[in-house]
């Protein structure tokens, strides 16, 4: 059943066994698992439910309907960095590129050895979960037939330089190469939560409540007994979703700490330890047409320096609106640069930053603080140089770095310049799209917010299952890890005596 909170007449007070806040990768996976138990499940989503037939390939209407703060959410620190999040049924899985990476062993080992979470997050069980998810979401490597030229060129670079790079594994079925993952897949080929686990849970009896903002957890003593919130319909009517068994928070590393803080959860770690993967893109100009608007949005990546450099390079197709904003010049020179974009490929450094930031609720909204460390800037410049090397190996005639303090165009043989770029994050255009750690899991209450059983320390029946519990960032695209862990958490919650 679906309840649309943007229309008048939604419920005031309902009871369910499990109330899940958030419908993205974590919330939908928890809903999928818990709906199998035969108990009643409610999923509360702040954003609207949007039919894939209504997805548009223009950025501004898409930002307005499907992105948090209409795409204008930023982290403040040394520089302003946009923080990209979906705000619709299915969460960020609707507007990401469906990239599937299992959590690498070398990332999990410190979780076990330094954070003591080997039993809480056993890798063998996670692999079993990933096996299941990959079957259910049709995960496969992007086939050459849908690469498009901008992905194929990275394959050329890989073969020429002999580096570790490969077609990306994605949760996609019958991709039509429309390069529209970021504005919502119009053919539902992308197996986002909107078209997979949420309909599955709904069919099993779950209630999907959209345009409904969860404001606070309801308590009886130290036991969570529901969620109070407000619908988006005129007058913002309030609602209560009572939970007979458990409240499960899966609202993301940005929204989860705010919800917990508003609900009286008190921990010095709440909102702290915020980590992310800053992304920084460069443009390569090729002698022949590339036309990045045909092909799999992100079909190829190079993980050659994932461990020794903490970065990965990914192809990406961006809509012209986004491409134009970063082109050099103004007026006629800017427009002439636009005319070169059919020959452009955009590849981005995705960095596993060392930086820790914070997420706090303030009177003006959510305050995200994040600044790269000097170590991060060294890695970033190394990653940008490596990207330029890949571009030139693939046959690019020039690279447009888009970095303040460097020439607008770099020619073959000048890749070294990228490592001399300013050691100041204000010189770069970046985004943050993978977000972690603001309610981290720990064995002891003194070290984190959530215990190894996924329950918030010091409370009963309140669980957190999203990436805010991750003890560190992952260095790889996190959706698959989030889903594997949410599946594990949901199974444990369903087996717990509550």
């Amino acid at each position: 059943m679906r309840i649309d909170g943007s229309k008048p007449g939604a419920f005031k007070d309902e009871a369910f066994d499990y109330v899940i806040v958030g419908s993205g990768a974590a919330g939908a996976t928890a809903a999928r698992m818990l709906s199998d138990t035969g108990r009643s499940v409610a999923v509360i989503e702040e954003g609207p439910a949007i039919d894939p037939k209504e997805f548009r390939n223009e950025i501004f209407p898409t930002f307005k309907r499907m992105f948090r703060d209409q795409g204008s959410q930023v982290a403040r620190g040394r520089a302003f960095i946009p923080v990209i999040q979906g705000r619709c049924l299915g969460g960020s899985t609707v507007i990401n590129s469906a990239i599937v990476w299992r959590l690498p062993d070398d990332v999990w080992q410190p979780w076990r050895d330094e954070h003591g979470l080997g039993d809480a997050l056993p890798l063998a069980e996670l692999h079993k979960n990933w096996d299941l998810i990959e079957r259910e979401l049709s995960v496969a490597r992007t086939p050459p037939a849908v690469w498009g030229e901008f992905n194929r060129l990275m394959d050329v670079a890989k073969k020429k330089l002999g580096v570790s790079a490969e077609a990306i594994r994605r949760n996609v079925k019958d991709c039509q190469a429309s390069a529209r993952c970021l504005t919502g897949c119009p053919t539902s080929a992308k197996q986002s939560m909107l078209v997979t686990y949420l309909p599955y849970a709904e069919k099993k009896g779950a209630t999907l409540i959209t345009s409904a903002k969860a404001r606070e957890i309801l308590w009886e003593g130290d036991r969570a007994v529901g969620v109070a919130g407000a619908f988006e319909s005129p007058g913002r009517p309030r609602f209560r979703a009572r939970a007979r068994k458990a409240v499960i928070v899966a609202a993301s590393a940005i929204q989860t700490p705010g919800l917990l803080a508003r609900s009286g959860v008190d921990s010095p770690h709440l909102g702290e330890h915020f980590q992310a993967h800053p992304g920084c893109a460069m443009t390569g100009i090729f002698p022949n047409k590339v036309v990045m608007w045909r092909g799999a949005t992100q079909g190829y990546d190079a993980d050659h320096h994932r461990q020794d450099g903490r970065f990965k390079i990914e192809t990406i197709a961006l809509q012209p609106e986004i491409v134009f904003a970063r082109l050099p010049g103004a007026g006629r020179r800017w427009m002439r640069a636009m005319l070169e974009t059919p020959n452009a490929a955009i590849w981005a450094v995705q960095m596993r930053a060392w930086a820790h930031g914070s997420v706090r609720e303030r009177f003006f909204g959510t305050d995200i603080q994040f600044s790269l460390t000097p170590r991060d800037l060294v890695q970033l410049r190394r990653g940008l140089r490596f990207t330029a090397e890949l571009f030139f190996a693939a046959g690019a005639k020039e690279v447009w770095p888009g970095i303040h303090g460097l020439p607008e165009k770099i020619l073959p043989g000048q890749e070294w310049m990228l490592e001399t770029a300013p050691a100041d994050s204000r010189s770069y255009s970046m985004i943050l799209s993978h977000l972690f750690g603001t309610a981290r899991m720990s064995l002891r209450r003194s070290d984190g917010v959530v215990g190894p059983d996924f329950a918030v320390h010091g409370s009963k029946n309140l669980f957190v299952v999203d990436s805010s519990i991750f003890p560190t960032n992952t260095g790889v695209n996190p959706q698959h890890t989030i889903m594997g862990i949410a599946m594990l958490a949901a199974r444990r919650i369903s087996e717990a005596r509550l």
């Binding site: 204008s72 608007w293 012209p320 303040h404």
Partner: protein
């Protein structure tokens, strides 16, 4: 509604007559887009865009040692002034030009004629 000085900024940023496939901002219907933007964009976005327009009109000429506003300068100097914002050593000035370009790109990059010129299905 944009005032004449704001229109001069947008016109300098996306002038007409550069290429047959690329219309100028106002030929491509920027006024309609702006009306929608004013109606539906969040307040911080609208205020930031207004600040970017203001800085482009009043600050950018001074970066090339000319008196403001931008609208009193010849076309070449208007473009030079906007470019100077992008090269400014002050981060906020660069960010304001980036914001101006980003919002204008929301309109321009979605325009069917522009997309056709780039070889994209509109």
């Amino acid at each position: 509604m944009l005032n004449p000085r704001q229109r001069a900024v947008i016109d300098a940023l996306l002038p007409a007559g550069v290429d047959p496939g690329l219309p100028g901002a106002f030929e491509s219907g920027f006024d309609e887009f702006y009306a929608d933007f004013e109606r539906s964009a969040l307040l911080p976005m609208r205020l930031s865009f207004k600040a970017a327009l203001w800085a482009s009109a009043w600050l950018s000429p001074m970066l090339i040692c000319r008196l403001p506003p931008l609208s009193r300068l010849p076309r070449e100097e208007r473009e030079r002034a906007l470019e100077a914002m992008g090269k400014s050593r002050f981060y906020l000035v660069r960010q304001l030009l980036l914001l101006l370009k980003a919002v204008c790109s929301f309109h321009y990059g979605a325009h069917p004629q522009v997309r056709r010129t780039l070889g994209m299905t509109p």
